[in-house]
């Protein structure tokens, strides 16, 4: 029997059409079958979305699920539950696992585990190089055939320029992008934070902004030369954004993402934490790569997101075990557990009127889908189009809540904003018409 669900009373938001209006949505068998006014269907289960916004489920291009091999940090079940809580209905799994996702059998393993245990859709990203060592190309053809949607050695840059050139050319032949973690290691070596007055104050080794800008400039030059598509992961500096803007203006196939933390937080968090005061914190939960940057860089990230230079928001969700953060700053792991705070944190930009709610939702949904062409792998995701999978979220832009890391679904409790009040919440997340952010169904 066909299961029918009607969502009523919400502000329906379809960024693909750029409209925001009060409509009803009819779901049948896990797909959207109608979006219209005054939908009345006998025998349909009703979801009351009064006062809420109904939007497509978020799509994250940059998630570290840590499986296989690093399940003590996160696994596919916990990571995708965290995604569901954060409103994400599709996540792209980064290949810096142990062993790395550099061959088809590991990709197949991840897909099999995801089919069995994931709360949301998982699209794997394959490694660029064997073992992510940056010397020999991974078997990209096999990886693509196994379902990889892009290639990346994320966690590390593709340092060797010739390898990057070959990777771009080879991936282009497969119709896929290279996602590069842009950081010139000869400039950023041993750095543990952004280079600026905070690193001077704390006596910590800083990475100059130019370490990112130089790598982005190289990648754009290579993309231009090869005609291939490069996607810049987690952009964090003004210089990089200006290089991307100029590259796009010349028609280079370059796309980019930015994380919620680089849109909202600065390097001062490393020194003082998120709760103010002038005591030095050396907050290891604010240690992330690329590092939290200056207020000027944050401003450039927001402007780049607003004008479309940056295509989408990606979390770079990087969960770690307690012991990897409860230590000296130099020794702490890089990364922020970001899936569950992404929407609330980004809503700051909306409430501060730096970007519109429409732009924010666009950059969390169809933006990432278009950046990598993900509709080729999962048609209709990131939209509320008729025929699309019923992946959607109910959002309350004004709900206030306090981040409580201990209650995260993610195994990674490593957030620099624990205890911080946010305004804007994900109320419910549905994948294929099934609520996934908690066990029970919202309305019977």
């Amino acid at each position: 029997m066909t299961e029918r669900i009607v969502i009523l009373g919400g502000g329906i938001f379809g960024p693909a059409t750029g409209k925001s209006e009060l409509l009803g949505v009819l779901l049948e068998d896990g797909r959207i079958s109608a979006v219209a006014k005054d939908i009345v269907v006998d025998g349909a289960r009703e979801i009351d979305a009064k006062g809420l916004i109904v939007a497509p489920g978020f799509v994250d291009l940059h998630t570290h699920l840590r499986e296989p091999g690093l399940e003590y940090k996160e696994d596919i079940a916990s990571g995708t539950r965290a995604a569901a809580r954060g409103g994400f209905t599709t996540v792209c799994a980064m290949p810096n696992t142990e062993p790395a996702m550099d061959n088809a059998s590991i990709v197949e393993h991840v897909r099999r585990e995801a089919d069995a245990r994931a709360a949301v859709r998982v699209l794997p990203i394959g490694a660029v190089s064997k073992g992510r060592k940056g010397t020999d190309l991974a078997e990209m053809g096999d990886l693509a055939a196994a379902g990889c949607v892009a290639f990346s050695d994320d966690g590390a840059p593709v340092y060797d320029a010739t390898l990057m050139r070959r990777a771009l050319e080879y991936a282009n032949g497969l119709g896929l992008a290279i996602i590069d973690h842009c950081e010139d290691p000869s400039l950023a070596h041993d750095a543990v934070m952004h280079e600026g007055w905070v690193s001077t104050r704390l006596g910590l080794r800083g990475a100059p902004s130019a370490a990112e800008g130089a790598a982005v400039a190289r990648d754009i030059a290579l993309a231009e030369a090869t005609g291939a598509h490069v996607h810049i992961a987690h952009v964090s500096t003004r210089g990089a954004i200006e290089a991307i803007r100029a590259g796009k203006a010349r028609g280079v196939r370059v796309t980019a993402e930015v994380t919620p933390h680089h849109l909202t937080l600065t390097d001062e968090l490393v020194a003082f934490g998120a709760h103010g005061g002038w005591d030095l914190m050396y907050d290891t939960n604010a240690k992330v790569n690329p590092p939290l940057r200056s207020a000027d860089d944050v401003e450039a990230c927001v402007a780049g997101l607003a004008d479309g230079t940056i295509d989408c928001i990606a979390t770079d969700h990087a969960p770690h075990a307690v012991i990897e953060k409860l230590c000296e700053f130099d020794d702490a792991a890089f990364g922020i557990s970001g899936l569950e705070t992404a929407f609330g944190l980004c809503m700051r930009l909306v409430h501060e009127q730096k970007i519109s709610l429409e732009t924010l939702i666009e950059r969390l949904t169809i933006g990432p889908v278009r950046a990598l062409g993900l509709d080729r792998f999962a048609p209709g995701i990131g939209t509320l189009d008729v025929g699309a999978p019923a992946d959607f979220v109910l959002l309350d832009p004004d709900a206030e809540w306090v981040v409580d890391a201990a209650s995260f679904a993610s195994k990674g409790k490593n957030t620099p904003i624990d205890g911080v009040a946010l305004k804007g919440a994900v109320v419910a997340t549905y994948v294929g018409g099934v609520r996934v952010d908690r066990a029970e169904v919202l309305v019977g």
Partner: protein
């Protein structure tokens, strides 16, 4: 038999600073970046008292009797560690030294676990040197004992700056308006950072000098008090003009190899504190160095051992300053403990 209280065993001179403590509330000494003029003055006055104790025939007072001090050093050190150990012993504390290399730390025990363990065995004060910037801050957040930063990474070395300030005041009276030139590896120097905070707070004019590659980012800019208000001058010949104090910092071999400077020869030619440069400073200007010195590299042999050198005095003052710090920190925690106990009844 009467019960001895702490006040009974403390010699008279100790009473003087305690009646005018400038509202000292500190339990830890991590850096001098947030010290007030009054607090620095208090440390200086208390150090005077400790100098008097040191001048006695038997330099021992039981002020810290019953206090257990651990020194926990993740880096080797001769002068700082021995000076702290002696300071504690002169004041009657039990001092136990732990080297990271000779303990469970070398087996991978975390800093947090180490601090908890030392506290569990009864540490009242933990004197910590760490090769990682911020290590003592983590220790201070972990336990209830007082933490004294004896140098953390490339961040801070507050007792060195206090003894430098004490040495300067001894010779100059007041440092307000005095020109202090600090020359050397500013990027990696915890001594320069702490000195800059203390000296600028006390009103000195601080000029820091290094090759541009060894100047940390944004140093010298006005940043609403986020960094000490120092002036950066990369030409030492210009920097030293009319200086009251010229302080050279140690340049480490690894910086030479790390590509920050072309080599020892050029570094010593451009940045060595030598007789010719000291002559450009004010007559009788003080020459200082936190040690250990690379004589012939950052400081010439004649200047290091010349009449204007205060290098040995710095070391001597180190003991008195550390006595003052230990006294001020533990006296405070005792008071706090008493207040807490009263509250509990």
């Amino acid at each position: 038999m009467t019960t001895e209280t702490r006040a009974d065993v403390v010699p008279a001179p100790f009473a003087a600073p305690s009646t005018d403590d400038g509202g000292w509330q500190r339990r830890h000494l991590l850096d001098l970046d947030d010290f007030t003029v009054e607090e620095l003055d208090l440390v200086m006055r208390t150090t005077d008292t400790m100098k008097e104790v040191l001048s006695r025939e038997v330099p021992r007072v039981p002020a810290l009797r019953g206090t257990t001090i651990f020194t926990l050093f993740y880096e080797n050190s001769t002068r700082t560690r021995s000076s702290f150990e002696l300071a504690g012993k002169i004041l009657g504390a039990d001092v136990i030294n732990i080297s990271a290399s000779g303990s469970s730390v070398s087996k991978g025990e975390s800093l947090v676990d180490t601090v908890k363990t030392l506290q569990a065995v009864g540490a009242d004060v933990l004197i910590m040197r760490h090769n990682r910037s911020g290590g003592p801050y983590l220790a201070a957040r972990t336990g209830q004992c007082s933490v004294v930063n004896a140098g953390d990474g490339t961040h801070a070395h507050p007792t060195q700056a206090l003894l430098d300030l004490y040495t300067m005041r001894g010779a100059l009276g007041d440092v307000r308006g005095r020109k202090v030139v600090i020359v050397g590896d500013l990027l990696h120097s915890r001594v320069a950072r702490s000195n800059a905070w203390a000296l600028t707070t006390m009103g000195a004019e601080v000029v820091v000098c290094a090759p541009p590659t060894l100047v940390p980012a944004r140093l010298g800019e006005a940043l609403e008090g986020h960094l000490p208000r120092v002036r950066v001058e990369t030409d030492l010949d210009k920097a030293v003009v009319d200086a009251d104090v010229v302080m050279a910092l140690r340049i480490q071999n690894e910086r030479m190899q790390g590509g920050y400077v072309p080599g020892v020869r050029e570094y010593s030619r451009l940045y060595q504190v030598n007789g010719e440069r000291v002559a450009r400073a004010k007559p009788g200007a003080l020459v200082m160095h936190p040690g250990p010195m690379n004589e012939g590299v950052e400081i010439s042999h004649e200047v290091a051992h010349g009449l204007q050198s205060r290098v040995e005095e710095q070391v001597t003052n180190g003991v008195a300053v550390r006595m003052a710090v230990l006294w001020l920190l533990t006296r405070n925690s005792t008071k706090a403990a008493k207040a807490a106990a009263k509250g509990a009844l």
